[in-house]
Amino acid sequence: AQTVTQSQPEMSVQEAETVTLSCTYDTSESNYYLFWYKQPPSRQMILVIRQEAYKQQNATENRFSVNFQKAAKSFSLKISDSQLGDTAMYFCAFMKHDSSASKIIFGSGTRLSIRP
């Protein structure tokens, strides 16, 4: 069975700082996807970034980038130049690539607060 672990329940940084959220996962699969989802106070789940396990290059989306270490099963999210609107719960998530209707397995989340 796959598991996703987020060891930082809460983090707080000053606006404009860079912050890194940690995530580790456990799987015996060789082909899978990893995600970071953002859940603001509105509770909607918003995809931040996605990484395919077969790609060595780390995914980036504007101020968001990941550090994907496949051998270590680590998938951290870096937010550069943090903004007040980045305040949210962040969930790391895993999905194996073996069927079209694969489920997503979420970590327990990190609550990120950006201070003005």
Binding site: S99, S100, A101, K103
Partner: protein
């Protein structure tokens, strides 16, 4: 940008009552999902649905739960006899290419069982 629409946004029901949570997936999507998030806890998979049948369900998705796509546009989750522990946020999601293209989540229905 296309959205997954969920109604109602908040529903309060008495224990033992049946509830139906409604979702309108993105129109060209073929794969549908329900997830649940108990307050303060992680988001948990309930069920996936494709080609008018359940693809996979979790151990949470017991006999009191059912899903249906009654009219080609709506996707519903029915809870037959609600319990207090069913109180949670329920998220619907849909995708075009299974999980490969990524999911789009709805904004959720907050279910409160009293």
């Amino acid at each position: 940008e296309p959205e997954v629409t969920q109604t109602p946004s908040h529903q309060v029901t008495q224990m033992g009552q049946e509830v139906i949570l409604r979702c309108v997936p993105i129109s060209n999507h073929l794969y549908f999902y329900w997830y649940r998030q108990i307050l303060g806890q992680k988001v948990e998979f309930l069920v996936s649905f494709y080609n008018n049948e359940i693809s996979e369900k979790s151990e949470i998705f017991d006999d009191q739960f059912s899903v249906e796509r009654p009219d080609g546009s709506n996707f519903t989750l029915k809870i037959r006899s609600t319990k207090l522990e069913d109180s949670a946020m329920y998220f619907c999601a849909s995708s075009a290419e299974g999980a490969l293209g990524g999911y789009t989540f709805g904004s959720g229905t907050r279910l409160t069982v009293v």
